[in-house]
Amino acid sequence: MSAAMWIHALLWLVGLLLLIAVVTVMGVWWERKFIGHLQRRRGPLHHGFHGLLQLPADMVKMISKEDIVPDSADPWLFQIGPLMVVVPAIAAMAALMFAPGFGLLDMNHGLFYIFAFQTLLPLGFAVIGWSCASKFTLIGALRAAAQLISYEIPMLLAALGVVVAAGSMRLTDIINAQAGVWYIFKEPLGFAIFGIAVLAEMNRTPFDLPEAESELVAGYQTEYSGMKFGFVQLAEYSVLFTGSYLVSALFLGGWNMPFLPASPLWLLLKIVACMTMTMWFRGTFPRLRVDSLMSLSWKWLLPIALVNIMAVAALALALPGIY
């Protein structure tokens, strides 16, 4: 790599860090505000303009809170835990393309790269839960791991439908292939499966079992205080961003918009819409039980995903002009 490319890469990485910070601050603020209004109340209001300074205040407080390491915890794993969630979250974002040619690197296997890092995150949750040596965190960790292994396969199979249709794993190719018709209309089944599975991979309601508050106090992060808890929040919201990006890019046409010129603005709008959707779920739905969570994945999503991929492949071969 040349020096220019190094500078390009470093600038992008710094930009991604800033993006993560902005996503977390605005995401949490928007979530609290949105759910607040769902619940007939106002949400953060008094600190900054309509509570915009609420999250910076939370961050400042978390940095200055004591960092407790329980005696029974595995000291190394306990300290490594935040690394295990923050690093994959940042690394997964390195492959995002925000417009044709506007991204850190347009990898020809970008989709696979994102999946590879995205699915490391629940592993980090499992490590966190295991390291704390508390019963609640242990159950939370087991649930996180079980959820990861159950929902990864339907997610990958649903995304494969898009790959077959686009004939590429490069994000730019996939999005450009949707300049005409979005894949949500060509593969509605794949979209449904992918949406559910991504929701589960992101640990969002109704799949927030690893941190089920009413059962496990705070799940895998029960023992995390101060900034360690902040790191987990950071990772969760950046993964929420990446997941929303994936849904927008694979099925909702990315930066394309019918009758209007392609623009990164549309992509951003779609991502915000997807994130808001998950917050809406969070405000409305209760939590699934752990066994119905597992049977939903193995007994419904997986067979349907297999049928879906074979059907999409057959259509792609039979109607090459349309699919």
Partner: protein, 119 residues
């Protein structure tokens, strides 16, 4: 191109590690550190922790992990197939259909054996 992406991944990981470590440093500077035996005890709803927290868990858990392994490998096979599907045509489709059918038989078997039932 491939080497570039590996390099980008490595760079991103290093950035992430540095970011976390930098914040650890700030925390070490700013946060008070006053451990005491009660504080360092494991949280258990206000009780003294009882028993071993890392108790062995149910054996059914592993069965699901094994089923996952099988299907994860299958997915890894499916991706290259999906990429080149238009070149290999219906012959490739038929071969993969047989492969998927065998796996579905396996899934049905595991299902009937009750492996997919969560503990």
């Amino acid at each position: 191109m491939y080497a570039d992406s590996v390099l980008v991944a490595a760079l991103a990981c290093v950035t992430g590690v540095l970011f976390v470590l930098a914040l650890y440093g700030v925390v070490a500077l700013l946060a008070p550190k006053r451990p005491n035996p009660l504080k360092n005890a494991t949280y258990e709803c206000g009780h003294e922790p009882v028993g071993v927290p890392r108790a062995p868990f149910r054996v059914q858990y592993y069965a699901i992990a094994i089923v996952f392994l099988i299907f994860d490998v299958e997915t890894a096979f499916l991706y290259p197939w999906g990429l080149v599907l238009r070149q290999i045509g219906w012959a490739g489709y038929g071969e993969m259909a047989i492969f998927v059918a065998i796996l579905v038989v396996g899934l049905v078997y595991a299902w009937r054996k009750g492996v997919l039932r969560w503990v």
